[in-house]
Assembly symmetry: C2
Homo-oligomer: 200 residues x 2
């Protein structure tokens, strides 16, 4: 046996993490062994702490350490718009633009029968409850990913939300800025054509 | 603030690990948050366990869970040869060849004044103690890396060991098997020329 038992387990643990192959896992495992006890204790604490302190916001279902989260409890943000996202990472991507000042709702995934993910597995119930219990909400922006699952989820949601008399919109798809029409795929070009707007 | 405090700390922790950039750190941190409590508990245990159980072999200074290590306590291995390595990973690389049946000694680094690593920081004292206290040892193979630091350490060791009347050898440097002379660097080609041997 090349590696000791505990070391093998440590390597296997790293291998289970996303984007970590065998060589990276070995490098990370040896790195852990090279640290002193305090540094290892810090790593363990940081992992435990993050897992314990971070939970879902009871309003928007985004990750948060306070409930409601900073965005939901910020009175300067527009309460009339909810942007529906698949993951907390998507919220961060949109926040980075500094162009959106409404509310969010995180579904934590997309409907995918292949992976046994139905509407019940997502935070759809919570979204409908928000919309039905508030008179403030005027628009729901569906920012699900432009994938088969994302599109299916967006279609499903739009049918659920429209009866509440709320405007339902979908984010635009087309050529990415800085992209090159020559290298864009057919579906993106088709979407860009479909979504064309008159120049004023 | 885009990330909550605990999440930022988790991302920063991953960023300190070797070969992990910002994007990988974010992916790994979100992966931790997506795991259930038992899985996180397993990760924490695996890290703690590895750190607690693995220590240095009192003989060869390699990483081990038993003392002396499996190699040092294996009576089938040749006690007359010690191969000096920089790291435990180097031992694994040599063991994988299944061509070496002697002992090892792990220095845990190389002399590097730039990084404040002198002979005292390495397991050199332990190596000299082994050689001076045993009559069995006939040869010490210096398998330090072909770097400036590795060469300097090998030179330093050879001067220390020779007075004990032990044969001191250095592993060969030259073209790697499967390599191409056309693409080899000048230093490697020079070493390959210097190390040429007569064909019998």
């Amino acid at each position: 046996m090349l590696y000791t038992e505990s070391l093998s387990k440590l390597i296997d643990m790293f291998k289970k993490m996303p984007g970590i192959g065998h060589k990276s896992a070995v490098r990370l495992a040896f790195n852990i062994l090279s640290l002193d006890d305090n540094q290892v204790e810090d790593i363990v604490k940081t992992i435990k702490n993050a897992k314990e302190k971070i939970s879902y916001c009871s309003v928007c279902q985004n990750l948060t350490e306070t409930d409601p989260c900073e965005i939901c409890s910020n009175h300067k943000r527009d309460k009339s718009v909810i942007c529906v996202m698949e993951t907390p990472k998507d919220v961060i991507a949109l926040e980075k633009t500094r162009e959106y000042f409404g509310q969010y709702h995180v579904l934590h995934g997309a409907i995918s029968p292949m992976d046994n993910i139905g509407p019940e597995e997502l935070k759809i119930k919570e979204l409908i409850a928000r919309i039905s219990s508030s008179d403030e909400i005027k628009e729901v922006i569906l920012a699900n990913n432009p994938s088969i699952e994302g599109e299916a989820t967006a279609m499903y949601l739009s049918r659920l939300i429209k009866p509440f008399g709320v405007k339902v919109t979908r984010i635009a798809f087309g050529l990415p800025i800085g992209g090159d029409l020559e290298y864009a795929d057919e579906v993106t070009i088709t979407k860009a054509l479909e979504g064309r707007r008159e120049i004023q």
